[in-house]
């Protein structure tokens, strides 16, 4: 018996027998014990370790067989994508070694430590059985280690050359599966004009319209197809403004504060351009919207550059992960100063401070606040996964700081932020893989320009095409419903309807290094040598408005104690972060979760119980639903039964505040689907939510019940579960016979 086919120790999974896996014939399976983190309950968990093209999977020995009806998830609770792995270290009886694809292990590893880019550290202990089987285990362990390192070593190709399809989507099954994902229709994707119009309506912004002048990316390749500009500027006029900005990134509307200020963003001005009379009028209009006052916030100078952030993040990761292979770890008594020297927290504070200043300006009302940086893409844009600057991670850290200071003001939870953090490292999501809408569109051949929602091609295509990458927001693809339930706090704060205002163009100020100025060349077309700026138009900025602006900013930098506690609950009040040194903290839950040595002594607070807060929040949600039901049951309410529910979903949406594209109402309502609606739900929603408490549990079947990509011994009809409409079937069949 070949050692690796010894069923008790190792198994080799053969692709042919498991059509719904992405596993290759070379994937190894080894019996191991996984070291559990404090959060997971601590201790060790026995199970089987697999390596596929996409992930390292750990399946606990006595894990419950997943429900056949449940959607497979890409990553189980114990899994990690190869792309997330940074380093593999094998620990032998007397030494440790960094495993690389080219090296060979000259000792029997007892322990395998995976250092992940998302700062997790996974530790697996190879079980020592009888001396007889030990040889085979160790050989398999060695091979697995090499396999692992080989697997993730491929990753750079994928990133540096985005045209190479990543291996996670190479398999036919995976392609089919991804093809059948549908977008959450309740979410605003901001890819069609409707999305932006909804947002204008939601924020009550008048005087702005959605322009499709960039529909074919002819004006600017990096801007989206639809952009929000002042109503008074016609598309023909707008077209002339693009040349005046770096990469054609003109000022675009992002958000309106309920007090009536508008937030815009743009790239730096092209200074060497002659300003025609008409241009100037248009430029002024584009910059001021309907407002009288404009503050340009310079982000270029004081904010960290992407290179700075990259360096800081690399240092932070090195510091937090430690490394048993190099045995160079920062002594504990130097932890604080070393953490400081990464500058990560400085940058976090810098971003928060700038954001707080902008928030304070917006709170003042009646102005446009324009964020300007040379490229207009880094401090704001979502970044391609891996290698490139972890600017997005810095943003997440900032959100976490705010969350940690005001947890009650967020619907989302720390788990949600953590999940988003980890997803950045997976080379799978369109949201993080491309640099712009144009690139995203080029990748997904099947987009329909009519409404921007990706539709499946009707009828079988002539040749199989690569499916589009799913967006990261398709959480069901990755995580079980229990885990997704932890993404939101069930009860969030209500919000109020927004007012509106209008005004005339006028003064413009520059905000840089927390001070206001109005340099004569701030707007190139207003400066003397640019020629034809109407003298009548020029207004000396009054010192009155200057001091007014300074007062607004001061409120934020001092963040005076609010004598009146009610201001804390004013829905228009920005959440001003506390920026004192001790208040900006290291995100332990994320960066230090891999620090195994620190967990040696740590016992979980309560191993399986929820946090009492979550428990109570859940209770409140149940009560609320019960109340809604009780209310419907009352005869006098039978006619207007739908009202309270809609109100609730509105509350949820308002609480999202446009910060995160996340619709909670869809989650809760999908979970409420009773079994009777199964047939109807089939065509529109993924079947994951169909099992309710009243469903009888399925009998566990050995080797048959597991339903992830890894193990999918497929039942004939379950393949069709993922086919949303009969028209898509032929495509799927073609894939299977491939």
């Amino acid at each position: 018996m070949a050692s690796e086919n010894n069923g008790s120790v190792c198994r080799v999974c053969v692709e042919a027998q498991q059509p719904f896996t992405i596993i290759s014939a070379s994937a190894r399976a080894v019996l191991v014990r996984k070291k559990l983190s404090a959060k997971e309950g601590g201790g060790w968990l026995s199970g089987t370790l697999f390596c596929t093209h996409f992930r390292v999977a750990f399946v606990p020995q006595d894990s419950q067989k997943p429900d056949d009806n449940a959607d497979p998830v890409l990553l189980g609770d114990h899994d990690v994508a190869l792309a997330s792995i940074d380093k593999v270290v094998a620990v032998g009886p007397s030494r440790t070694k960094l495993v690389t694809p080219t090296c060979s292990l000259k000792f029997t590893p007892e322990e395998l430590v995976l250092y992940c880019r998302d700062m997790r550290v996974l530790c697996f202990l190879f079980d020592r059985l009888t001396p007889d089987t030990q040889a085979s285990t160790s050989s398999a362990a060695g091979k697995l280690s090499l396999q692992l390192s080989g697997g993730f070593a491929h990753k750079p190709n994928l990133v540096t050359n985005p045209n190479i399809q990543c291996f996670s989507t190479r398999s036919i099954e995976m392609k089919q599966f991804l093809s059948n994902r549908r977008r959450d229709p309740n979410m605003n994707w901001f890819e069609c004009s409707m999305g932006w119009e909804q947002e204008l309506e939601r924020t009550g912004a008048s005087g702005w319209r959605v322009s499709s002048v960039n529909d074919r990316f002819e004006m600017s390749t990096s801007l989206p197809r639809f952009n929000v500009v002042p109503q008074r500027v016609l598309d023909t006029e707008l077209k002339k403004t693009f040349a005046h900005f770096n990469e054609g990134r003109i000022p675009r509307w992002c958000w309106r504060h309920p007090h009536g200020s508008d937030l815009l963003r743009m790239a730096s001005f092209q200074n060497n351009i002659y300003h025609e009379k008409d241009d100037i009028r248009n430029l002024e209009l584009v910059l001021f919207g309907g407002q009288q006052l404009c503050v340009i916030v310079d982000l270029g100078e004081e904010m960290p550059s992407p290179a700075d952030i990259q360096l800081a993040h690399t240092r932070l990761r090195t510091l937090c992960l430690g490394d048993i292979s190099s045995s160079v770890s920062v002594p504990d008594d130097k932890w604080l100063s070393t953490l400081e020297s990464t500058r990560w927290l400085d940058y976090t504070r810098c971003c928060l401070r700038k954001a707080a200043e902008v928030a304070c300006l917006l709170r003042g009302g009646h102005m446009t606040v324009v964020l300007q940086e040379p490229e207009d893409r880094d401090m704001n844009c979502v970044v391609c996964s891996l290698v490139q600057a972890p600017v997005f991670l810095l943003f997440l850290d900032c959100v976490w700081q705010l969350w940690a200071q005001y947890p009650a003001r967020f619907q989302l939870t720390e788990d949600y932020l953590l999940t988003l953090h980890d997803s950045v490292h997976l080379p799978l999501f369109s949201s993080f893989l491309a640099n712009s809408q144009r690139e995203r569109c080029r990748r997904s051949q099947s987009y329909t320009p009519v409404n921007g929602l990706r539709e499946l091609p009707i009828g079988a295509p002539e040749e199989p095409v690569d499916p589009p990458f799913p967006p990261v927001w398709d959480w069901a693809l990755q995580y079980s419903s229990q885990r997704r339930a932890r993404f939101t706090q069930p009860v969030s704060q209500p919000a109020c309807p927004p007012p509106h205002n209008d005004g005339l163009p006028g003064s413009v100020f520059l905000l840089s290094r927390s001070t206001f100025s109005h340099p004569s060349n701030l707007l190139p077309w207003r400066s003397g040598n640019s020629g034809s700026y109407w003298k009548s138009h020029r207004r000396a900025p009054s010192s009155e408005s200057l001091s007014g602006l300074e007062r607004l900013i001061r409120a934020c930098s001092l963040s005076e104690p609010s004598e009146n506690p009610s201001t804390l609950h004013d829905p228009y009040e920005p959440l001003l972060p506390l920026l004192l040194g001790p208040c900006v903290r290291v995100w332990r839950g994320c960066y230090l979760r891999g620090a195994l040595h620190a967990q040696a002594f740590s016992h979980p607070t309560s191993s399986c119980n929820q946090h009492p807060l979550d428990q109570l929040a859940w209770e409140v949600q149940q009560l609320r639903e019960k109340l809604a039901q009780a209310y419907h049951r009352r005869p006098e309410n039978q006619t207007k039964r739908q009202e309270p529910r809609r109100l609730e979903s509105n509350l949820n949406q308002n609480a999202n505040n446009g910060t995160f594209l996340f619709s909670s109402s869809s989650r809760t309502s999908q979970q409420q689907l009773p079994p009777s609606s199964r047939g109807a739900a089939h065509s529109s929603v993924p079947p994951r939510a169909q099992r309710t408490a009243s469903d009888p549990p399925r009998p566990a079947q050995r080797n048959n019940g597991k339903h992830t990509f890894l193990f999918g011994h497929q039942e004939p009809q379950s393949g069709q579960r993922y086919v949303p409409s009969p028209s898509a079937k032929p495509q799927k069949r073609a894939g299977n016979s491939h």
Binding site: P185, N186, D332, D333, W335, L336, S337, E340, S341, L345, Q405, Y406, A408, N451, L453, V491, L558, S559, P561, S562, E563, L578, L580, G581, P582, C583, R588, L592, A595, H597, A598, F601, S602, H603, T605, S606, N609, P612, L613, L616, V620, L623, R624, A630, H632, R633, P635, R641, Q642, R645, S669, Q670, Q672, L673, P674, S676, S677, A680, A681, S684
Partner: protein, 578 residues
């Protein structure tokens, strides 16, 4: 009760003087107002604007009062008083330069802030406060030992110290090895610094391992030995069949050696063959005092902005916290593995109290309850003679006294670190810890007065003063951790790493208005909001049910009826965009 501006005065509190004054607030500008001084507190209220700025400072908090500037000093507000406080803040007041305007207020402050230096009584003896519960009954030694499972066949209770003859800094009730005779105890006492012999602090019900505490052995330069002491430690070891008794010497090795010069020392290998000695490297009271001083420098009045973390590191405060915690972890771990331990430092009333009480907090969930924590403080700190009077300097003007040290504060900080790491394991919340620290200094209650039981007895503290626990237990709702989930069996080991310790911002930086509004833990706040919401929903539900009691309950029996509406509605919603 006579009103004082807008706060009610305590029963027994008397007004002494009030005066127009300028409070030089470090966070705002100078504030004009009026200061009231009573025999208990300094109270300031501004008169120059409608937004109230107040100070309410118990005089016990004051460690130093100084005159600032002279009659001829130039500059605005340069003539006045500077008050240094024990609770991480300083206060500056300015007065008019004419006519020695500050003389009376300075004299009165000096007198009432340091009553013991002026032949006067501490306010705790003047207070007339009455509470339903008598907090002095919180701790009954015999009850507590019985709860632990003592006396038994291995350990006995002795009253040898009932009139403080064996050791004047120990309590009257002691638990010692069953086999040790009263004569043994007396002979051991001669070989332990200040006669603080090893006695039982905690008994492990399952494995019968014990935590015992004592002072250093009087080894001296000549390396003296004492057969009785050696045999006595062996009796402790034998009691549960521990193979090797572990002696935790809280000090750094070098300090223990240096103590030989003054007659002290540590248990040598030759003399104590069945014992192993472990040094825990915790520094002495002087190092801790200097460390806290440095911490105050970087947080008050302004928080060091640019290099906050390295400044914090250079105070070493968190590092000391870490060493104390990791020492206690070692003690707890040893005991839970079944081995008995002896813990001592030099005199066994500072670091020893920190280590035994923290280890007990980790081992015994009772001490993590609201009442149990009070018992722990009464037992390990108050009855076993932590020198509160010397360490805090109650009512004493000698602010530079080298005996002062924030040992108890450091312990409370360690407890706070544990509550942070195990948010559901403690029945009490952060507010209780802050209140304990506030009244550690305030001298309003008798709980933390004097150095040991014998002195407390002779001053009749129980008869003449009110216990802090009378006050705390009169409204427990303020101090209860809503997330508490009692769990008895597990030992709590906090992570004693700089990576996981935090500065207790809401205590050390609480005077900074930019921190203030965090006072209420956001999580707790959220929890309370949710609780209120739950109650509200429950009430509404109840109302609905009441008004629904008419027999139209066919809807109630068929629960699928209301459900059916939801999915239908949902599906139409889903399909609209397609």
């Amino acid at each position: 009760m006579e009103p004082l501006a807008d706060v009610a005065m305590l029963p027994g509190e008397e007004r002494v003087i009030d005066k127009e004054i300028i409070y030089i607030c470090p966070f705002n500008a100078a504030v004009k107002g009026k200061v009231f001084i009573t025999n208990y507190r300094l109270y300031f209220k501004n008169t120059d604007s409608d937004t109230p700025i107040t100070l309410d400072v118990p005089l016990g908090v004051i460690s130093r009062v100084e005159k600032m500037g002279g009659a001829s000093s130039r500059g605005e507000n340069s003539y006045g008083l500077e008050i240094t406080c024990k609770d991480m803040r300083n206060l500056r007041f300015a007065l008019k330069q004419e006519g020695h305007s500050r003389r009376d207020i300075f004299d009165i402050l000096f007198k009432y802030a340091f009553p013991l230096s002026h032949g006067m009584q501490l306010f705790a003896f003047l207070s007339q406060e009455k509470y339903e519960e008598n907090g002095w009954n919180v701790y009954e030694p015999m009850d507590e030992y019985r709860r632990q499972g003592v006396p038994n066949s291995e350990w006995r209770v002795t009253f040898i110290n009932k009139s403080y003859e064996l050791c004047d800094t120990y309590p009257t009730v002691l638990v010692v090895p069953y086999k040790a005779t009263e004569e043994d105890l007396k002979r051991v006492a001669t070989f332990r610094s200040r006669c603080r012999i090893p006695v039982l602090s905690w008994f492990h019900k399952d494995n019968h391992a014990v935590i015992t505490r004592c002072s250093q052995p009087l080894v001296g330069m000549s390396g003296k030995r004492n057969k009785d002491d050696e045999r006595y430690l062996d009796l402790i070891r034998e009691a549960n069949g521990t193979t090797k008794l572990t002696i935790y010497d809280a000090r750094p090795n070098v300090n223990a050696v240096a103590n030989k010069a003054t007659g002290g020392g540590y248990e040598g290998d030759d003399a104590y063959q069945n014992a192993e000695l472990v040094f825990l490297d915790i520094h002495n009271i002087h190092v801790m005092r200097e460390s806290l001083k440095k911490l105050k420098d970087i947080v008050y009045p302004n928080v060091e902005e640019s290099h906050w973390l390295s400044s914090l590191e250079s105070t070493h405060w968190l590092e000391h916290i870490k060493l104390v915690l990791s020492g206690a972890i070692q003690v707890a771990d040893k005991v839970s593995s079944g081995s008995s331990v002896v813990v001592h430092c030099s005199d066994g009333w500072d670091r020893t109290a920190q280590l035994t009480s923290l280890a007990m907090l980790m081992l015994d969930s009772y001490y993590r309850s609201f009442r149990g924590f009070q018992v722990l403080l009464e037992k390990e700190w108050i009855s076993f003679g932590h020198k509160f009077a010397s360490r805090i300097g109650h009512g004493d003007k000698n602010h530079a006294d080298q005996d002062r040290s924030p040992i108890f504060l450091q312990f409370i900080d360690c407890v706070w670190q544990m509550t942070k790491q195990f948010p559901t394991a403690f029945e009490f919340n952060e507010r209780l810890l802050v209140v304990i620290l506030d009244h550690l200094y305030s001298c309003r209650f008798g709980t933390f007065l004097y150095n040991c039981e014998s002195v407390r007895d002779s001053n009749n503290v129980r008869g003449k003063t009110v216990s802090l626990w009378s006050f705390v237990n009169s409204d427990t709702s303020l101090y209860i951790n809503p997330f508490y989930t009692p769990e008895s069996s597990r030992v709590l080991y906090p992570v004693a790493s700089m990576r996981h310790l935090e500065l207790w911002v809401t205590y050390y930086i609480r005077w900074n208005p930019r921190i203030q509004h965090q006072q209420q833990s956001p999580v707790e706040q959220r929890y309370k909001e949710l609780l209120a919401m739950r109650d509200q929903y429950l009430k509404k539900l109840e109302e609905l049910k009441l008004s629904d009691s008419t027999p139209s309950s066919t809807h109630l029996t068929n629960s699928s009826t209301p459900n059916a509406a939801t999915p239908n509605q949902h599906i139409t919603h889903l399909q609209t965009p397609f």
